[in-house]
């Protein structure tokens, strides 16, 4: 259960074509992350799968059966919304039980499932409170609880962590990953945060303007970005992309090198530059190098103890096997 196939799915709002024909296969039990800059159609794609938007053309199959025209409730999917969308006038218990009540489930079974979800999500102490009395993280867990009691064939998450503060976000990220491990249900997760995508996904789908730029495991995308967009989007800090003379030397229109794949020296190297800002993170230091003649700014990772200061001259040497070459259309040269 939990296999979703999109076949030539398109979506237009009036004259605006948001999703051009798109094919995607999501396998059972996978944690799939849709990632892309805002406005790339990732939320729309999720809503198409959920059935909250109608597809303009194409077909959506869930577990092999055509679900294109099924109403959302009949698709067997559960969704966690960005705003959590809890029902403010109902207690946590009633919120979680709502989908079961709508399905006219036996009250004893409802009770059992709600208690189980509350236990899994550490909500037992708050079960009779209302959403207004809960913190952001607790509300998030109630929203997840409301999704898991239905035992859906797949979970859909629409940027669920974007309203939480940084430390809570890291915690919830772990909790969702663990939930995926214990339930082994298909999960589709939308985010614009590539760190969330890298840490949680089995499979990342990188979207730009409704197009799928690349699909693959986090490390596949990191090691072998198919084009300059994916190269620039995956990885933190972003990959350095150079065009012009430096690229021509390697027989490419654009070359890319990650900040962590350059050797840094104060004496000798391929490229020469001047240190601008140094961001000290403790374990690492990210240096912004200017006046290299390659790009306005080059980011490079140095060890935490590398001692340079603003205005120093440094030399950079790319690790040859980690250099990415792209042709004039931005596509990777093998």
């Amino acid at each position: 259960m939990g296999q979703i196939t999109l076949e030539k799915v398109t979506k237009s709002f009036g004259d605006v074509n948001v999703i051009p024909p798109l094919d995607l296969q999501i396998n059972e039990g996978e944690f799939v992350v849709f990632v892309g800059p805002s406005g790339c159609g990732k939320s729309t794609l999720l809503r198409l799968i959920a059935g909250l938007e109608d597809v303009t053309s194409g077909a959506i199959k869930i577990d092999g059966t055509d679900a294109t025209n099924l109403p959302p409730a009949k698709r067997g999917l559960a969704m966690v919304f960005q705003s959590y969308a809890l029902y403010p006038h109902m207690s946590v218990r009633k919120n979680i039980a709502f989908p079961l009540k709508m399905a006219k489930m036996d009250p004893a079974e409802q009770e059992r499932r709600v208690n189980y979800a509350a236990k899994v999500l550490n909500l037992t102490d708050y079960i009779d409170r209302r959403p207004g009395q809960l913190s952001g993280g607790q509300r998030q867990r109630v929203a997840i609880g409301r999704a898991i009691v239905r035992e859906p064939s797949a979970f859909l998450f629409d940027e669920p962590l974007s309203n939480l503060d940084a430390s809570l976000r890291v915690n919830m990220r772990l909790e969702i990953s663990e939930l995926h491990n214990s339930l082994a249900t298909t999960m589709i997760y939308v985010t614009h945060d590539q760190v969330e995508a890298m840490t949680m996904a089995d499979k990342i789908v990188v979207l730009r303007a409704g197009n799928i730029e690349q699909v693959g495991s986090p490390l596949e995308l990191y090691r072998n970005p198919r084009n300059t967009f994916v190269a620039g989007f995956i990885g933190s800090p972003n990959m350095n992309l150079f065009s012009g003379a430096a690229a021509a030397e390697h027989g490419a229109a654009t070359i890319g090198i990650r900040p962590e794949h350059m050797d840094l020296s104060t004496e000798t190297g391929t490229w020469k530059g001047v240190v601008g800002v140094a961001e000290h993170l403790g374990s690492d230091t990210f240096l912004h190098i200017h006046e290299t003649g390659l790009a306005e700014m080059v980011t490079v990772r140095a060890s935490g103890e590398f001692a340079v200061k603003h205005g120093d001259t440094v030399y950079l040497t790319p690790q040859a096997d980690k250099l990415h070459k792209f042709d004039k259309d931005g596509l990777k040269i093998a």
Binding site: P72, A73, L77, M79, F81, Q82, Y87, P99, M102, A103
Partner: protein, 288 residues
Amino acid sequence: MATKASRSAARIMIAPAVILLLGWMLVPLIMTLWFSFRTYLPLRGGDQGWTGFDNYVRFVSSSSFWPSIMTTLTIVVSVLVITVVLGILLAMLLDQPMWGQGVVRILVIAPFFVMPTVSALVWKNMFMDPTNGLFAHLWRFFGADPISWMSDAAMPSIIMIVSWQWLPFATLILLTAIQSLDGEQLEASEMDGAPLLKRFYYIILPHLGRAITIVILIQTIFLLAVFAEILVTTGGAFGTRTLSYLIFQRVLESQNIGLGSAGGVYAIILANIVAIFLMRIVGKNLDN
């Protein structure tokens, strides 16, 4: 800055408003109480001194007292039910995106700006007149005998007129409430398997709870004192004599200020009983 000087300055500055409002309320109240214990017949000897509770006993023992209470309550409850139910439906309708939304909303609110006397006269003469009214023409078009609204269906007529006036108010308050409903909640309930009616019952209606409470409380205050609509239509005949109309008749038609004042005190008591009941029933919606 809450210094001693600024606090006393603040007190001095709000004093005129407080004194004016207190005077506005207290002077008529005390005068009503005062007159209710006196025999005061302006055209038959003027103020003739204390009578104790005679006015109160006479007002209650009159055969028109209990019917007038029932009429008042019937009008209040009927208008409340009609305006709240239609108000919710209209608000949901107006919340839908449509062409000319701004104009439609202004048109819907318009009846509220028409003075009660005027609207009641328009209804009486243009719609409900048994020979020339629009309803009479409509009835005849279908071959039915026109209803003589003001005599045969006096109460429904009054209720219809008053509801028409108050529907815009209810719609307006409920529309603003409905607009504040989070769309994701509706989508979440849709995914949770709630069909349209259940979404309405479990999501929209509870969300509107507070707005409905406010509509009910505010309207009740004004509906208990409905007067102009009755004066210009039935003149209190055909079972449309409300408590406030009865008081008006005692004071102006019977020229008995003492008796009317006693009625006024009963009206205060009735309003308070209604208010306590309402707060008991719907007041908890205003908490949190």
